[in-house]
Amino acid sequence: MQHKPSLFPDLIVSVGAVLRKDALSELRSKYAFSTLIVFALTCLSAISMSIAGGELTPHVQSVFLWVVLFFSAMAGLGRAFVQEQDAGTLLTLKVYTPPQAVYFGKIIFNVLLLVSLSVLVLFLFIVFFDISVSDWVALIGALWLGSIGLSIVATMTAAMAAQAQGRSSLFTILTFPIILPEFLNAIETTRTVLAGEAVDWTQFVFLGGYALVALIAGSVLFDYLWVE
């Protein structure tokens, strides 16, 4: 196949193509993002209404924030590969796209979805639970690093769950134990910020480090998943 010489290496071009394809089909169907938003709203209102103005400690607030984010991610991100199967495009994608391009393309797409969702959820949390934030950088840092880690792991487990029966419940079962280190750490960091305590910066190193290790391990293992 001949194509124009490009400024970027082939892999980056392919990653961009996968990302563009996913973004376009998402813009048309609006399925994933609307599911994410409505699911997050449902979780949030379930918590917020049942508490209705009661006082929550920063610890509980942080736990709720991350539980809402985790389950929204489980509701919305699992479709990354299932959608290809349902549309019948999986084989074409396998034939024409290098596995690493699919891997990074899907991950970037999921990261974008979850990071934008996390901003929305945080905004609603601040409104509903009357949270006053002193250190915005640390809060956004914890939120985004945690969301990035979650999206990376969820992309890998979605690729595995897509090949099995009972995908959606299996997806949650597979993701939870793997994401736990990041999940616990993100909750703890968020708690520290919400409590107005000084944040230990090494927390962020671990949040980012976990995401990086998951990204590399996933990249190595994805080839085996993709090319059967």
Binding site: L170, P177, L180, P181, V213
Partner: protein
């Protein structure tokens, strides 16, 4: 299942059984441990269980890795068996630990560091087993299960760094060190050796059973092929050995 094991493996099994019974008897012959008291006897069960859980999961991950490299199904069978055995031993370690915790500190569960870690291991390996059940094709199951267990194997050690940073999970009730006299050390070593030999025996038994199963399947396939009147060579050369069974059924 008497025909599965070779004479040597049967003998090996009997020796291990006697050895483990002897060790159990020795545990009860020991005087109570220094500050653990009589209930300290549970340690001679708990420590070997915890050790074998670690060993089985390490070996399971190793065979998963080997399977991804070689795609030889018997390596996946070994890793799968090893992980399942590991799950059983982890449950025993968790259970015995919880009983000891109840007797000593008054609660079965208190999110001690090691309780947290083993809890996560239990979650991972139950997810691993559920994943295996949900995929029918054996090669696909091997592939995806192996990828999952290796992915977990790489990311989960982060817990070692994360847990001490979380105040509600920080404390450990596990004794960091305790003194044992020579006799106790001997019994504990005997228990560890016995349980490790038992694990090896389980692996040998599992491998032998798998061989019988594979042979039976091959026979069935052969029968199918014969019944539809095709030579085995023709099918094999067409690379249809795996699908031959299904195709045969459809045609018949």
């Amino acid at each position: 299942m008497s025909g599965i094991l070779s004479k040597r493996d049967k003998l090996f099994g009997i020796v291990i059984g006697v050895w483990l019974l002897g060790t159990a008897a020795a545990v009860f012959a020991l005087p109570p441990l220094e500050w653990f008291g009589y209930k300290g006897r549970i340690l001679f069960f708990h420590i070997p269980m915890a050790w074998i859980a670690v060993l089985t999961f390490l070996m399971g991950a190793w065979w998963s890795f080997a399977y991804l490299r070689s795609k030889r199904l018997e390596q996946f069978h070994l890793s799968s068996l090893s992980n399942k055995v590991g799950l059983v031993f982890s449950l025993l370690a968790t259970g015995s630990g919880a009983i000891y915790a109840k007797l000593t500190w008054g609660a079965f569960w208190n999110w001690d560091v090691r309780q947290t870690t083993i809890f996560i291991l239990l979650l991972i390996y139950t997810a691993y087993i559920v994943l295996g059940y949900s995929i029918e094709d054996e090669e696909k199951r091997g592939l995806i299960s192996s990828v999952y267990s290796l992915f977990a194997f790489v990311t989960v050690p982060f817990l070692i760094f994360i847990i001490p940073r979380i105040p509600s999970l920080k404390s450990t009730l596990h004794p960091q060190r305790f003194s044992m006299d020579a006799k106790m050390g001997l019994v504990l070593t005997a228990a560890l050796l016995g349980i490790t030999a038992f694990y090896i025996w389980i692996l040998r038994y599992g491998a032998a059973r798998q061989r019988v199963k594979t042979a039976e399947q091959a026979q069935l396939i052969q029968k199918d092929i014969e019944s539809i009147g095709l030579g085995a060579e023709g099918l094999e050369s067409a690379g249809l050995d795996a699908e031959a069974n299904q195709n045969g059924e459809e045609t018949v």
